[in-house]
Symmetry: C2
Subunit: 478 residues, 2 copies
């Protein structure tokens, strides 16, 4: 067995609609800090980086989410990873195929392990051991899956039916069948029978084995990948790739597929309904997080981000409150939240795509109010950080410092602005906001003007990765 270099593909393109209103299209589930101070993506990378060096980790995401993903990497000093942008989501086969042909440094027989960016793993050491076991079988030419021992008759997961062990007394098993999300009866039968595992969505294979499988089972798809390898633009190729999952399009059809059982305290954190498995429950079975008051509810999930949520006598409900949108639905229908989010689209585009608070590499801003001819924002600049040197063609800005001391550039003038001091930024004037001090600077910004388009920003100079041309539709001032 050769010590082939192990590469990790982190699938971070999910839109995470099932965690709306906490997730938004520009703030998907993988960047949520649902389970602690690190986001799902950060946790995924941090649990791998001792096993797979950062430069061999490839994060595949949707171009629309680039800003949010880069920010997550930047915040934890994880910018050494490779980032591949999909022009649009085309399911997992496309994302994995893209990484297989475009990852830098990946040899013909390099080994790729695939990880969803938004799952929870309580025992990373178990994951690492399973990767070692999997690696052995990838070298023998197997496509390797990782299976979770079921603990309940879950109908929301796919299952893998295992056959005999690949070697006598060994851990890895032959994979005999994939079962899509089953009806309850079948889920119960599989649980009772044993030998069935939840499909964790983690996979592992040699690159040449994967590409051979693509050629055999998805030949058209394979030709697309070859065009990519030949230098074709991703945008050209991607639109033609069928949006098929790696499991369904490839693994279900392949012959030599292995499953490595792994007991790593796993959850896919698929919906709000997963929270009762991940958080302590109160005496009546509720998970209640944030600013809330409950009388006599049972088996509910209540998530109050900022405002007060008062509940009384509820049963098996999900209540999620964010500064601009609230969701209420029964736990048993939580899978349908994605349909609800689809219905938001035309009527409530802002609540679909963005939060009122938008994180930036220098800090964050919160849209406090928006009216005809004006916007009010709360801007936080972290210590030592500064915004880009920028100008706006159409709007003026009034800044009032309410915490810390800012260094302010307006035109050619540079001055300090302390608490309770204010300044005016005329239109078309280059300006910059900087925090030279040890505490956060907080500024209330009042924008005025007939045109307050978010795109009205010209970046003249930036400390981060954002050039004047980098402004994406949601990438607004300041």
């Amino acid at each position: 067995m050769t010590a082939a270099p192990l590469f990790g593909i982190i699938l971070a393109g999910g839109s995470g609609t099932r965690f709306w209103p906490l997730s938004r299209s520009q703030y998907p589930k993988q960047v949520l800090r649902l389970l602690g101070s690190d986001s799902m993506l950060q946790s995924t990378i941090l649990r791998l980086k001792d096993r797979i060096p950062l430069e061999r980790l490839i994060v595949v995401t949707n171009a629309a989410q680039e800003e949010a993903i880069r920010l997550e990497l930047y915040r934890k000093g994880l910018t050494g990873v490779q980032l591949l942008l999909e022009p649009q989501g085309r399911n997992t086969a496309a994302a994995v195929g893209l990484a297989a042909v475009l990852s830098a440094g990946l040899g013909e027989d390099g080994v790729l392990a695939v990880f969803p960016a938004d799952h929870y793993v309580r025992r990373p050491d178990q994951l690492h051991q399973a990767l070692d076991e999997g690696l052995k079988w990838t070298q023998a030419g197997y496509l390797v899956t990782f299976g979770i021992q079921p603990t309940r008759a879950e109908t929301g997961y796919g299952y893998i039916q295992a056959g005999p062990a690949l070697e006598p007394g060994g851990r890895a098993l032959l994979c005999s069948r994939f079962v899509e999300k089953p009806p309850l009866e079948l889920a119960r039968a599989m649980l009772a029978e044993g030998g069935h595992y939840w499909n964790s969505g983690m996979f592992m294979f040699r690159r040449d084995v994967l590409l051979a499988a693509f050629r055999q089972y998805l030949p058209e798809f394979y030709r697309g990948l070859m065009r990519l390898r030949g230098g074709a633009q991703v945008e050209e190729v991607y639109a033609d790739l069928p949006p098929v999952s790696l499991d369904h399009g490839l693994l279900e059809k392949a012959q030599r597929v292995a499953v490595v059982p792994v007991d790593m305290g796993w959850s896919d954190v698929g919906t709000w309904g997963a929270l009762p498995d991940l958080f302590p429950r109160d005496a009546r079975g509720n998970v209640i997080l944030g600013r809330s008051l409950d009388l006599d509810s049972r088996d509910c999930v209540i998530y109050a981000q900022e405002r007060l949520v008062a509940t009384l006598g509820l049963q098996d409900l999900i209540v999620v409150d964010t500064p601009d949108a609230t969701l209420v639905c029964p736990r048993e229908r939580v899978q349908e939240v994605k349909e609800l989010v689809a219905a938001l689209g035309r009527r409530y585009p802002l609540e679909l795509s963005q939060h009122l608070t938008v994180e930036r590499p220098w800090g964050a801003y919160t849209l406090m109010e928006s009216g005809p001819g004006y916007k009010v924002k709360h801007i936080v600049v972290e210590p030592g950080k500064r915004l880009s040197l920028q100008l706006h063609r159409h709007r003026a800005e009034h800044w009032v410092v309410v915490q810390g001391t800012a260094l302010v550039t307006i035109g050619t003038q540079v001055q300090r602005l302390a608490g309770n001091e204010s300044i005016y930024v005329p239109p078309s004037t280059p300006h910059r906001l900087e925090n030279p001090g040890p505490e956060p600077v907080r500024i209330i910004e009042i924008q005025t003007g007939a045109i307050l388009e978010e795109e009205d920003i010209v970046r003249l100079e930036d400390d981060f990765w954002r050039g004047p041309e980098a402004s994406s539709p949601g990438d607004d001032s300041p």
Copy 2:
């Protein structure tokens, strides 16, 4: 029969906790605009004023709600009514007794009609006819009640059992018994049997007859009223009055009590559960008001004041969303909202007492954000109105005009401030904000200072009823 002058007592002291979070202790149910552009109190006065002149209408309210009540009267030009302030709520017998002894112009044999300030009446003409009928029997010495024909076995109301007609073929009946809020079985039996009416909470009697009944059935209470008539301070007397309802303390014991049935399209609008009777329902039985999106809910009340409320698959639930607090509870437990509100008290005093938007005679302000050392408010000054000339000892204010043109006084300087212009108000400097123009003036105000107590306001001059000493605890700047 003499044409005794008819006076109206409007009971406007309710705390309205059952409509939280739309009602607050300083913004009780009677000032809510639940059912149209007029508040419950305004509607109550407007439906009476053609029958009872304004100066003979006495609004009795709690001193803590004076500001909110005065504002409602001011807004509709109803300031001609008499206003009596209770130092604390002591139930209806005390409020009616207070009005009976302190109303200006009320003769010994004047007739008093009592109206809750927060009920709904679809057909005021029917009410007027019933008042005429009641008046006749007050002259004959009866205590008159008004009964509503039940349409369902309601357990939330009191009932009046009627006896024989007071005159052959006449409308008014002898009242034979009062029944407190009944259990369901009894409510069903009364509905089936007939001859039982919902107690509307409206009453009518000659003043001398009322006082005689007080003397006979509540002698200690009567002595308190006589002290009041003798010039004692309300504060002294009121604390000793037992908090008893007029029905329970007096009418249930009296002999000559009449009931006038009236079919006026009445609702006491007692809880959120009353809305389905007052608003059109959608095809699935929901009343959905405001900025909301629902998939497949049934028989719910969803009230979204400002932010987006998205609901999915709910059944028989109440969801009420306001800018700073959200309520979710089952319809069948809506009576318990008052217990929930009681539980709010210590932990969430602001959400109990006030809204983020506070109405003022000159317009309104909204607290947008509050942080250490600063507050941000949105101030709206209505055309032709101005705030008091005032100063603050501890805080500075930054004003940025975002709509209209304000006339601003700072110290001895008076200047115009147009859109996109800003000005600074130093501490301890007299200042005034005025709107001389035809459109509302909108200003973003940023207050800064170590002390941002709401009580830090000295009013030097005011267009309204508020002197420098009139600042109540919740009566804050500007």
